[in-house]
Subunit: 493 residues, 2 copies
């Protein structure tokens, strides 16, 4: 059922591939003739970016971890323009990187060599909103937060929410199959995305954009592009199912004295809060301490508490009084049963935000360190914290290890931070973290994708037969391999 | 965005294809050697069915509408056996029909000619249930209702429910991408199915069965098999996300004096009932009359009402008192605003069942007629009832036309019943219903699939580029075309 049996061999393969430097594919290089063609497609030379300084934000990811050497970024406005760009790239054998808000964490949206960047930033139109059906159709370059604000005026909301919402694009969210904090309630984009418009490697426009909740006419092709990180096609527009915006929101911040008690609290939250539970986040003491130490505006809502674990629960519902009553009853019974040691309920919007600020402060605080080993893992809930403790033991005093994340979805963010990277530290963490995750039947990327960072590690999560089938699908959709090369699949491809 | 522009040409193509008889593919015929091989794979000759009488239930669908001529049905118990069967069929170029509970409505699960039936009925084991994560792993031949009853003991439920639950298999549900009455609340199987184990046409086992909520390592291959009707692979096992079983359930039966008022009632239900809304079904007066006339145990809960439209709303939640309060407040404001003319709330389980009996009685009553033209359509909600009225006008006195269905999901069940089929009546209904659905941007199959009935009609819903891409995917997964031939894609394939 899992790749468990063959973990050792997979590990060796993964390391070997990682060690081998990625080699530029046999793609053409940009010529003056290409620039002329692209300028004629886009109409205005300012959308054909060739200046080295102007190219920097297209070449470099926001963590400053990955930097490509592209000499060309294109900024189309319409699907037709994207189609003409791809037709030309296909004919000329030019490699392409689709780029959304460039907020990814695995180097998936920046070039590795000199791939042409196709930025979706100008494709930011909302085509339609149907308030009754709760369906929005928009271009791929729309910014997540802007979409959510627009939907708010219709009493609707986006079915996903994440830290980068102020700059990430919906097309990038879809291509990464982004998760975020309300996944527990609103589920996967595989359920929420009703339709897509995609430009294929050949330039052909694949129109499966019908904004219907139900449609069983043939294969659901759009699903392949959700999470394909732009390697099978460029998502240019999407139809999204948007739930009603809740009238009431609440949050509670709790402490638990052991991880099993965190799990017990989750079990109780599912039973008692049921349909109003919209987030269940946990953080260990080390995470909380790091955030409060780093930022003056992050405060432990349970001041003086020295328990090992903290939980942030959010509820969303249609009746404030009912929600408050459910929350109160859940807290009382959880305290009485000893699942939690203490708890605070947000009394107003300021406190609600302060609770979330604690959770959001953790990744921000991690970013302030010289070296950060960042893992986004799916692990069965019962074993989740064992992995954190085992990693902490292995790194000893060489790094500060924290575990937090979307417990409700089995999604652990495991991080080790230090002043500087070192081979000794690296070897203590990897491949241990990946191997252990594989042994537990988990995933080495829960919601960040594989990009260039983890392309060679896919074997830890996926069976050989699945990877072979993925390569076949890649060849079917992109026979020349021009779409976002060196990403997702091992480069032996 | 839709296939609207080319509806006329698509219509012509569809009719032409329908008119052309399907021709048997160039597959091998069963030999004594094949039977020996299959008997050795399955161990016991009783799982290799060759007797003509015994084959009848495998050859004929439950509506007695489709009947194949298979001379062989195989009843494997394990994935390994299915794999060996497919390996042999692939080598010998034998065509195969995977068969679940055989409750489909489009002839997708019975042979057209002499395809080998692979019945999943013996593959009925539940492999694991994780009550905390809410994840079940089971074999494809498990019966939906049995799964739901087993989950009930863990406080969980299946995320789908449909009329055929007592005999349909989960593997068939997945292969059809079945919808049902709680889709509105729990969404699509594309969101609920976490993993699949699939035997490919070659006999290779594709293992993407990890029971993880989140996993972004490569292409989500399992999605392709959801709704592929067994034409890309045989689903042998599934990991399914199962929501907590609600503690409280309620139902209300309402009347509205126009279809716009039904829509207004839906808008109000979404706003007022929000997270506890678990079904929103509508039926027209003609549907209700038919059911009450046909069955003595079906009674209009609003006796004496002569309004044109009826709505059945179900709520599910974690607190009975809260749910009742929300329902009461919704009903009062809806009455006051004139959205509904009357309403009854179920006072006990008996009434709850009686309300649902009305809704379930409609398709059952339709089945009692000599000729039934049955359409399962996705149509934008605002235009949904126009289609019923236009169809009723066209058939005039030749048939009795009813419209009902899952309004919350934009899913209309449109039916015309008469004493007997006639060319005149047929030509009044088709291709009109398909053409009009296409014009409205809808789907000609919302939740029943295409099977053999509608394989030639895919062009009404899907663009040419999508159908071409589907054919390419089919060739990639099943190069010899041995898996469930003559279904889903037009036979020109």
């Amino acid at each position: 059922m899992s790749a468990r049996g063959s973990v050792a061999s997979l590990a060796r393969r993964c390391l070997a591939t990682t060690a081998r430097p990625v080699v530029r594919g046999d793609f053409s290089e940009i010529t003056a003739g290409d620039l002329e063609t692209f300028t004629s497609i886009l109409g205005d030379p300012k959308h054909v970016v060739t200046d080295a300084d102007d190219l920097l934000p297209f070449n470099r990811d926001w963590m400053n971890k990955y930097e490509g050497k592209s000499r060309l970024a294109l900024r189309p406005k319409t699907t037709e323009e994207v189609s003409r760009i791809m037709r030309h790239c296909s004919e000329r054998n030019l490699a392409v990187v689709p780029q959304g808000g460039n907020t990814g964490l695995v180097g998936g949206s920046v070039p590795v060599f000199d791939e042409v960047v196709v930025s979706m930033a100008r494709m930011d139109e909302i085509r339609s909103i149907d308030p009754l059906a709760g369906v929005m159709v928009c271009q791929a370059g729309c910014i997540l937060q802007h979409l959510d604000e627009t939907l708010a005026r219709e009493g609707l909301m986006m079915p996903l929410d994440l830290g980068a919402k102020g700059s990430c694009h919906i097309g990038g969210n879809i291509s990464t199959n982004a998760g975020g904090i309300r996944y527990l309630r609103y589920g996967s984009l595989h359920g929420s995305v009703l339709g897509l418009e995609v430009v294929l490697a050949s330039g052909e426009i694949l129109d499966v954009l019908k904004p219907l909740r139900k449609d069983t006419t043939g294969y659901d092709l759009k699903q392949l592009f959700i999470g394909a990180e732009g390697t099978l096609g460029l998502v240019t527009a999407a139809a999204i199912h948007c739930p009603p915006r809740p009238k009431a929101k609440n949050a509670t911040f709790l402490s638990c004295d052991s991880f099993p008690r965190v799990l017990e609290t989750f079990r109780r939250a599912k039973a008692d809060l049921g349909e109003i539970l919209s987030a269940f986040e946990f953080l260990d003491k080390e995470s909380l301490d790091l955030a409060t130490r780093t930022f003056a505006d992050v405060k432990n809502p349970l001041e003086g508490s020295s328990d090992g674990f903290y939980v942030l629960i959010e509820t969303s519902g249609s009746d404030e009084a009912h929600d408050a009553e459910k929350l109160q009853s859940f807290l009382e019974s959880s305290l009485e049963a000893g699942a939690i040691t203490n708890g605070a309920v947000a009394q107003d919007v300021t406190q609600f935000r302060a609770f979330w600020r604690v959770r959001e402060g953790v990744p921000e605080a991690l970013n302030t360190h010289g070296a950060m080993y960042k893992y986004d893992l799916s692990v069965p809930q019962a074993q989740m914290y064992d992995l954190v403790e085992e990693t902490r033991d292995r790194v000893g005093g060489m790094a500060y290890t924290v575990g937090y994340g979307h417990l409700g979805d089995g999604n652990l963010h495991l991080n080790c931070v230090a002043d500087a990277y070192s081979d000794e530290l690296s070897s203590r963490i990897e491949p241990f973290v990946y191997e252990r995750t594989a042994e537990l039947g988990g995933s080495v990327s829960a919601e960040h994708g594989l990009g260039q960072m983890k392309a060679s590690c896919i074997g830890y999560t996926k069976s050989d037969s699945a990877v072979e089938m993925m390569k076949l699908v890649k060849r079917t959709f992109d026979p020349k391999g021009i779409l976002n090369p060196y990403k997702v699949l091992p480069s032996s491809n």
